[in-house]
């Protein structure tokens, strides 16, 4: 039982992170190779507050998210105006910089030896609940004017601006919202493993998230969530294949990208999303 619960908890945390990538990459078309660093910001902020100031979980999470958003804001101001390949590079550089800072402030963060003894507040129900909340928020975002504006900006910035869309503004909003979710995932992670170290949040993790989103279908929130669950548990399922499993995983992803480039789900969304939205509309 404990095994399934731990897989479920980690999968839920991955779902939160993947939701953030869906918002940033899937909706707004921004390509962040440093998103894992925002997870680090959330994890370390909450972890430090909990271990050093004995802060309770909830405020620590709030501070973690706020720190993630602040970092996103500072990175976003100069970056989001750049062309898209540069955004990938700058976020990548930011990620490396964050790791360097964490390693160099050992008296606060524990440096390479990690931050230990974080109170394990994240229980399975908490993680699952927050994952559901994150997905609902992302769905609401997608079907609000902000979501439409994101997609429009992703498709065609000039046309979007001629329809009155504030391109820089909506990119920033998506980046802030997404990074808040990433930081949230970080706070959950820190309070589940009770231990974080800078090496966990390197750019390959960001790349892995992007792969997951594309696997499910970059234009589908349903796809992103399902892919997070599938690919999050796939290494578990393949555990018996020992050292071969990452190779098998890569082959699977390559097959999907090649033979179904729009991802498993394409643009398909579970009808549930829309019908809930419709019911809400009628009720409201």
């Amino acid at each position: 039982m404990g095994y399934y619960l731990s897989v479920l908890t980690f999968t839920s945390i991955t779902v939160v992170a993947i939701t953030s990538i869906y918002v940033i990459t899937g909706l707004a078309g921004l390509f962040s190779l440093g998103q894992a660093a925002f997870m680090a910001v959330g994890a370390y902020t909450s972890g430090i507050l909990i271990t050093r100031l004995s802060m309770p979980f909830l405020p620590a999470v709030v501070f973690g998210i706020a720190a993630g958003m602040l970092a996103a804001f500072l990175v976003g101001i100069p970056t989001l105006k750049l062309r898209r390949d540069y955004i990938a590079l700058v976020t990548f550089g930011f990620g490396e910089a964050i790791i360097a800072i964490l390693n160099n402030t050992a008296n606060v963060t524990g440096g390479a030896m990690g931050l230990v003894g974080i109170t394990p507040y994240t229980t399975t129900p908490v993680a699952v609940g927050i994952a559901v909340l994150a997905v609902v928020l992302a769905r609401n975002f997608k079907y609000s004017r902000f979501g439409r504006q994101c997609i429009a900006v992703k498709n065609d910035e000039v046309a979007a601006a001629s329809m009155g869309v504030n391109v820089a503004g909506i990119k920033m909003m998506a980046f802030l919202f997404g990074s808040a979710l990433t930081a949230l995932a970080g706070t959950l992670y820190a309070s589940y493993t009770t231990y974080v170290e800078p090496g966990l949040f390197v750019w390959t993790l960001s790349a892995e998230w992007i792969i997951i989103v594309f696997f499910g279908g970059v234009n589908s929130l349903t796809g992103a969530v399902v892919a997070a669950v599938l690919l999050g548990t796939l290494p578990e399922i393949l555990r018996a294949t020992a050292e071969w499993r990452i190779a098998i995983y890569s082959v699977l992803v390559l097959l999907i990208i090649n033979f179904r480039p729009s991802g498993i789900f394409g643009e398909y969304e579970l009808p549930l999303w829309r019908s809930i939205a419709r019911r809400f509309r009628r009720a409201g």
């Binding site: 404990g2 095994y3 731990s6 980690f10 390693n103 493993t193 231990y195 966990l200 548990t233 789900f265």
Partner: protein
């Protein structure tokens, strides 16, 4: 599209069921788990530990098993990820129902496993060098975490003592990888010991694991006028360091750790480059207990065992010994027995584990000096205070 999505999900569900069905315990076999990095940045060590453990188990089984029961290994890859380590641990405990677990030589993994193991009760015997893996902040040991090699404190004290007493060095420099927990954990105890015993750490320089050029750092060491330099670093960086030290003209004595042990000199473009280096290892090649194990390992895997392979072997010995003494495969009983391991002859020394901190007692390290590209043994070194 819906069809494809559904097919995928069904396939996954089927696979998941298959996996959960495999959790049956076979008749009579004792199951021991192995958590290692079989892939990822530290895969070389993980695979070596796993193979060492495999060898030990096959020997135990060939000799009739433990109390007549065969031993079966369950090996899971965690690719240096605490997240994978926690799920792998849970799986070994809940699905595979193992008696004990062979842990990796990676402190970061140990740090994330300690609280989980405390809660779930299956012991882990690892070579996590960071003492925080075995000892809680309140000074109590983590009930189910065990270390079977000198901790970073013991290890760096042995080296520091060697430098002060045998080399007569007073001014020491240290170069280490700031982004690597193993490397970092070996610095502070070294500095403390040196300062407390009449020496002085004149300079500490760092690099990060992405760096490939250490010439600037090495020049700084050269200009600092240190008598000797301590290098608690990984093997690839050690290779680079020696090559670049030669270029910079740094020729003060260097003292390295486990990563300078064989096959280190084989990786150098010229083994004599390592001449004059002092190396600490857990065991001596000349010690008789190693000879057979080495031969068997080469027989089984077709290559030289590295240091970590012997540790994998010894971890199984410790667990097997504890199961025999406990007369039970109950994890809690085995855990208590491991804590009382005493005078067990392993390949890496005589193993005695202290119940107070779950770390080995009185483990010495074998010091070598490399001469003409060959490891020349200087004997085991134990500081006064460790005896």
């Amino acid at each position: 599209m819906k069809k494809l999505a559904i097919i995928t999900i069904v396939l996954f569900a089927a696979a998941a069921m298959l996996v959960s069905a495999s959790g049956q315990r076979e008749d009579g076999a004792i199951r021991i788990g192995v958590i290692q990095d079989l892939s990822g940045p530290t895969s070389v060590w993980g695979n070596a530990v796993a193979r060492g453990a495999e060898l030990a188990v096959s020997e135990i089984n060939a000799a009739g098993g433990i109390d007549g029961r065969q031993v079966e290994l369950r090996t899971y890859d965690v690719r240096l990820s605490p997240q994978e380590a926690i799920t792998a641990y849970n799986r070994l405990v809940d699905q595979d129902r193992v008696t004990a677990i062979v842990g990796p030589p990676i402190s970061n993994i140990g740090l994330s496993l300690a609280p989980v193991a405390q809660a779930k009760g299956v012991p882990i015997v690892g070579s996590f060098i960071d003492p925080r893996v075995t000892v809680q902040p309140n000074g109590e040991p983590w009930t189910n975490m065990f270390l079977m090699q000198p901790s970073s404190v013991q290890y760096s004290e042995i080296i520091a003592d060697f430098a002060l007493t045998e080399l007569g060095a007073r001014n020491l420099a240290v170069m280490y990888d700031q982004t690597n927990a193993f490397s970092v954990s070996l610095v502070e105890p070294f500095r403390n010991y040196v300062n407390a015993h009449g020496g002085n750490v004149a300079l500490e320089v760092t690099y990060t694991s992405d760096d490939r050029d250490f010439r600037t750092q090495l020049s700084q060491i050269q200009r600092s006028g240190a008598d000797a330099v301590y290098l608690p670093i990984y093997i690839q960086e050690a290779v680079l360091t020696l090559q670049q030290a030669e270029q910079v003209g740094l020729d003060i004595p260097m003292i390295g750790g486990l990563d300078f042990a064989p096959p280190f000199t084989d990786l150098l473009p010229d083994p004599t480059l390592a001449d004059g280096i002092y190396v600490a290892n857990n065991y001596s090649d000349s010690e008789p207990q190693l000879v057979d194990v080495r031969a068997a390992y080469m027989d089984m895997f077709g290559e030289e065992p590295i240091n970590k392979a012997f540790k994998g072997y010894d971890k199984i010995l410790i667990i097997a010994d504890a199961i025999r003494r406990a007369g039970s495969t109950e994890p809690a009983a085995v855990s208590r027995a491991i804590a009382r391991t005493s005078n067990l002859r392993g390949t890496t020394g005589i193993l005695t584990i202290s119940p107070d901190n779950h770390q080995p007692v009185g483990l010495s390290m074998v010091m070598y000096q490399i001469i003409n590209g060959e490891y020349s043994e200087l004997g085991r070194h134990v500081p006064e205070s460790h005896r």
